[in-house]
Symmetry: C2
Subunit: 340 residues, 2 copies
DNA sequence: CTGAAAGCGCTAACAA
DNA sequence: TTGTTAGCGCTTTCAG
């Protein structure tokens, strides 16, 4: 004879069935709100459920149905992502909407190498794709509903919701140009991210369209960290012919640049115009409020959950490629170019 | 006859067994690294697994064993938590350690009312307890390994890892007093959080120990938001007899206060000394670097995962109540009191 | 060293 | 309207 491994006092559907004098099937029907249950039985079962504080095992449910309400959020764990404003906004947006839709949120900080075990998750949101394209492809051909945010992927049959980094960057640089600046530098973010690459591209495009020659010395690449922003800023400001304006790929780096400028005796915006990207609230703490580009992070996050939910419930199968617009936020850190 | 519902091409342990000519039991043994498998069989199975890209269903595993490697992180969704530096640091610390320990992280932003379905989670970390005491008690008597962070709970048989908010606050206020300040105000955080309450208490205690009478008009309560910080700051600074120093319960609020002071023509630290709490990196972006209290958030987060992991693997059952020390970070925003 | 068979808690097809 | 029964994919006795 078998012995139950652990006298796991956890109550199951069977206990409920016994206590209410019906079959487990009926209990199951009550749980799943089948209309075809006699009112009397339903009430009885419901009472017992309450009494016993029964909660169905989601595990067993998922195993039996093959469906799962788990949304996995896959965030690549590259250097610096967590120093960004971005990650938290994403988690916040996705987390609150998941809670509202009764979806479980599994947070997966991936090193990009380790394959993800998809069994048991109902859908996946890839926050950007940094070296983990394979993971997305695996998910795709395992037939798991999934989508990518913050990265516009053309060559994969996958939905994506991205932000118009290119346009946003182009706009802000155009703005600087409209103020009369010609010597405009760019401190870029980590170019393994599409966002940083597109911002750089937008910068270049704006210059080009305005017939301003690109000066390679004015473009400095960083990993988004404040440390590298500092080095870049020092380098730029100390140049024999320093730029009159700098477009920085993130607000947090821009703030560091502002600090460096102050240390070197430069007054923003009089001696140097400065623009960031993100609309990070701390841009308002700066001595001079930071001009920046607002990106709809929360919106992107929430759209992704909505979309994924549709995919998961098979209400939709068409893939969608969306680019959300950005908005230039003019504050005080930029000024008309003054050649004196 | 039955028809398989969906020709779910997902490969299972059975497929692996067939393809390698052994029983599923043997495959299971290989998966679980039982030593008692002939090397030959093991290799064969391992090969097939690789070939078929088989990944065991964690669902089925959990159902069969009753064990689960899922860690639920329960974060109460009160107003303003996500505007804090705190939340992201927590998620970052917990997330990376979970990944390292091969634990799945379930993120649960709770409204505190809805009971949590614990079935299938192996352990729970409650990030603070804000109105959701019941959830913790439920988990406790469901016998699920769990602990509380950022809240020292005396009257519950639950492990907790908290931060010495009281001591931290007392220290910083002592520091202000040592600089000669006597009119010291406090802008508190949301007192539903233990952290805010303890910081207020620390403030009071420091005054008391130094025989400085508490002036109720100098204590202003907020919800941690910048908006309320602004109002508080305006009120304090415009008082007929304004404080010469303000201890603010969070760095982000302190930065807002600094902005307000500047707007009102006050120079920090000459006219007003300012201290925060958190050691939020943006404290360094301020025109005047913010003096603050550093709290070991990452450490708290990581300790909690370690501890929970021990609890989950039954290697430990003793509950632990830990308070981690803080550290005063003196920067530039405070100055000796100058009565002129 | 290996396999058959009995669960884990639930859902769903079928029959009543 | 309800119950019976066969799985879902895995682990774990127990008996070779």
């Amino acid at each position: 004879m078998r012995i139950k491994k652990i006298p796991s006092k956890s109550i199951s559907i069977t206990d409920v069935a016994k206590a209410s004098g019906v079959s487990i099937t009926t209990v199951s029907r009550v749980i799943n709100k089948f209309p075809s249950v006699k009112e009397e039985s339903r009430i009885k079962v419901l009472n017992v459920i309450k009494q016993l504080k029964f909660q169905p095992s989601v595990l067993a449910q998922r195993l039996a149905t093959g469906r799962s309400n788990v949304v996995a959020l896959v965030i690549p764990r590259y250097e610096g992502i967590f120093y960004s404003f971005y990650a938290l906004e994403l988690i916040r947006g996705i987390g609150t909407l998941c809670a509202a839709l009764k979806l479980d949120l599994l947070l997966h900080l991936t090193d990009s190498r380790t394959p993800i075990n998809f069994k048991g998750v109902g859908g996946i949101i890839f926050a950007d794709i940094i070296g983990n394209r394979q993971q997305a492809m695996d998910a795709l051909d395992a037939g798991i509903p999934c989508l990518v945010i913050n990265n516009y992927i053309e060559d994969l049959e996958i939905s994506c919701i991205a932000i118009d980094n290119l346009g946003g960057a182009e706009n802000v640089v155009n703005y600087l140009i409209s103020l009369g600046h010609k010597r405009i530098a760019h401190i870029s973010g980590d170019l393994i991210t599409q966002a940083a690459a597109k911002r750089l591209e937008g910068y270049k495009r704006a210059l080009e369209k305005n017939k301003i020659a690109l000066n390679q010395d004015y473009v400095i690449k960083t990993d988004y960290s404040r440390g590298q922003a500092r080095e870049a800023a020092e380098h730029l400001i100390k140049m024999p012919k320093p730029p009159s304006a700098i477009f920085v790929a993130s607000d947090s780096m821009a703030l560091e640049v502002m600090t460096v400028a102050r240390e070197l005796g430069k007054v923003v915006p009089r001696d140097l115009s400065l623009a960031g990207f993100d609309d990070n609230p701390s841009g308002l703490d700066a001595p001079v409020a930071l001009t920046t580009v607002r990106q709809p992070l929360i919106k992107m996050a929430q759209e992704s959950v909505k979309e994924l939910n549709l995919l998961m419930s098979k209400k939709k199968t068409k893939i969608e490629k969306i680019i959300l617009p950005t908005e230039l936020v003019v504050r005080e850190s930029c000024q008309s170019y003054n050649p004196d």
